[in-house]
Amino acid sequence: MHTSNCLTRRHFMQSLIAAGIVTWAPGQGAAQMLSQSPKILEGTTFDLTIDKLSVNFSGKPRTAVAVNGSVPAPTLRWREGETVTINVTNRLKTNTSIHWHGMRIPTDMDGVPGLSFEGIRPGETFTYRFPVRQNGTFWYHSHSGYQEQTGISGAIIIEPQTAESEAVDREYVIFLSDWTDVDPHTILSNLKEDGSYYNYHRPALNHLSGDPQTKKFSTALAQYLMWSKMNMSPTDIADVSGSVYTYLCNGVPPSLGWKGLFEPGEKVKLRIVNGSAMTFFDVRIPGLQMKVVAADGNAVEPVMVDEFRIGTAETYDVIVSPENMSYVIFAQAEDRTGYAKGILATSANNEAKTPTMDPRPIRTMADMGMKMKGMAMPAMSGDGKMNMSGMQGGGMEGMSNMDMPANTAHVAAGHDTSSMTVRSDSAMNMHVPPEEVARTMWDQFPLPQPGRDVLPVGTPTSVPSPLPHLASVLKVGPEVSGIAVITGPKLSDPGVGLQHNGRRVLAYSDLKARYPGVDRRSPTREIELHLTGNMERFIWGFDGKKFSQAQPITLRYGERVRIILVNDTMMEHPIHLHGLWSELENGNGSFNPYKHTLIVKPAERLSYLVSADVKGHWAYHCHLMFHMEAGMFRTVVVA
């Protein structure tokens, strides 16, 4: 089902010209034209027009929704400390919106229709205006219907007020996305009828010929029956696959390959944005090590890697030092049904050999939060311990025989205890900080951005004990097809398909903030949320409820909370909290990284701290578009 292979170059050139992605210049080499990235707009005032656009990414003409006639949308370049004004004009027949992903801005500028903004009606111009108080790589996209999937998404680069420590000679945005010729509404509809609709690697007779590891039929059959008994599939990696997606790099399909030029000896910064609707990408540049210097816009201590996984909506900045040859920026979809491709070369005529994709990952019982007798468990713990996991209501026999740690609720909540003490009594401490501390801090809200010369505020206060594990009240049902009984952190696990591949792969435990966190208070409250779903019905939610059935999560203005996410599903979810930072508790204490989107792996339990320092209504959701549309969404009210 790889449709992109059969396309002719001429076909594509025509379509790219039609799309306004390249300009027709007779006599100019095609490759040169293709090396163009989306247009960069700079300054403090921007006029963005949203309109339909004819495009052709897969060989078939289709209509996209585009910003200023470009898919992806133009890259916006801002400067920290300036106030930007963006006039967005809607030329569609339906409402639209633009959300500034990861930006810390007033709630009425956040651009989520229905929360604190009505959306932009047809023919209307809406003016966004907000001060830019952060720097780094971010992105923007529509938050209306399926417009993000059909074209409205682009990168944001914010230059820091003071120059960065590591100068680079050149930089490129690598904007990854997934294009489909199919109407997104049809995709969700198909998934409602058949949750495996786009999975063309379901267990089949030919897979029974032998287990990949042991080559034994009996093992393969046991595996097959085990998954079948649960009405699930170990090949359930991505809900929407390369069978309908063409993966794009800066809007260029892999059959052509976006091209970026460099001079030998240059240091090149790549600002990599996963602007896809549904796809996790595993990014590597064969022959080049990448120095990761920022995650989700915030500087991290540099870490050299061969590869990293970028969840939907995450951003990473990496610096590479290419020599006098050509390289492929190879971004394979997590389910290995396709890839996005870019080329770094010293000349427009240079090509580079595209590597073959890695083997498809397979889910294990560990991803289900289960343990099978006689099955080897992959090492999956973030704290060096083996987590034996189990599942309630999974239809598994012999579940009662499983070994369970005595205090399961403690496993993740307490994994980063460097800066906190866990009280031994079980009473919840709901206190806000002492009045005096609170008053001096609330003068500073919203809190400053993490960065050099920023003085932290607050002093640690007492920390509540972890809540009892919610699995005891969560029940299986139409919205919950399984509950992982025992979960744990997987911060040092790079993710399914990336373990033990011989490469140095980035893990969340590698992310150590360059600058200490600005809010040093301990949390006074813990909120435990379970990521739940029923793949067969294609219903997703938090705590067994979809958005339409749930109440908002309320945070008190100024409070600092610990959010504990427990993934009871067998898929990764990139969870995004609008408006506020998510400080991932990955063991680096006051240098825990600030992120806006966090991947939660199957059967993982992770925690992060949130300072509720901006009032308003904020969206909180899985950034996989169809998971969000199917219910994995909450409103967070800070009041």
Binding site: E193, K229, N231, G477, P478, I539
Partner: protein
């Protein structure tokens, strides 16, 4: 947002059945429309042979997922036996869903106002030979509490229709198939059938298409 309605039509069997006694045309399908928690279902099946229709069955049901069940829905509504024989109307209550091992299972109980009771059990399993090549054994059993000679059904197990089909999914929504089907009537049903001169046990070679949209 997450309460958007969807609608689908699935014709599981749309086939010709060639047997020693001739060829008949059979359809069996279902359609639903609604949200995750409130759906209306239509189920329809029937046989056409020599311009007469038999085993006609149309059901109109309201469907809801069962609390605490992950993969089963409860359905309630009406069934009308509409074909060349006298029409019968029933109240229907049943289950439809996925049992462990991905076994599709749908038992339904029918009640008429005169106190007659009928039951139907449908089951199917999709065995994937290759990604697009699927072997699907399927069975349907009908039970009645009392004889209904006009409709050629007798008490107890009245009839059975079971087959095995090998389909090739050209795409998910269009899959031609070939197969083998046995259909038989039992007990007094067999006697009623014999009395009209029809065969009580038929083995057919089938060819058809499974379509949905």
């Amino acid at each position: 947002m997450d309460n958007e309605p969807f609608a689908h039509v699935l014709l599981d069997q749309l086939e010709g059945r060639a047997s020693a006694t001739g060829t008949q045309f059979k359809w069996d399908g279902e359609a639903w429309a609604g949200t995750d928690f409130n759906r209306f279902w239509v189920k329809s099946e029937g046989n056409i042979a020599r311009s007469s229709m038999s085993d006609g069955d149309q059901e109109f049901l309201y469907d809801r997922p069962i609390p605490r069940m992950r993969y089963f829905d409860a359905q309630i509504g009406v069934r009308a036996d509409l074909d060349s024989d006298p029409t019968r109307a029933w109240a229907a209550i049943g289950l439809e869903g996925l049992a462990p091992y991905e076994f599709e299972f749908a038992p339904t109980l029918y009640i008429r106002n005169d106190g007659r009771v009928a039951g139907r059990i449908e089951g199917a399993y999709s065995f994937r030979v290759r990604q697009r090549l699927v072997l699907e054994p399927q069975i349907e059993l009908n039970f009645y509490s009392k004889d209904d000679k006009a409709r050629k059904v007798g008490s107890g197990l009245s009839d059975l229709d079971g087959g095995i089909r090998l389909r090739y999914e050209i795409n998910r929504k269009f899959a031609p198939y070939i197969g083998y089907v046995y259909s038989g009537s039992y007990g007094s049903s067999a006697a009623f059938t014999r009395a009209t001169g029809d065969a009580t046990h038929t083995s057919s070679f089938v060819f058809g298409v499974r379509v949905w949209r």
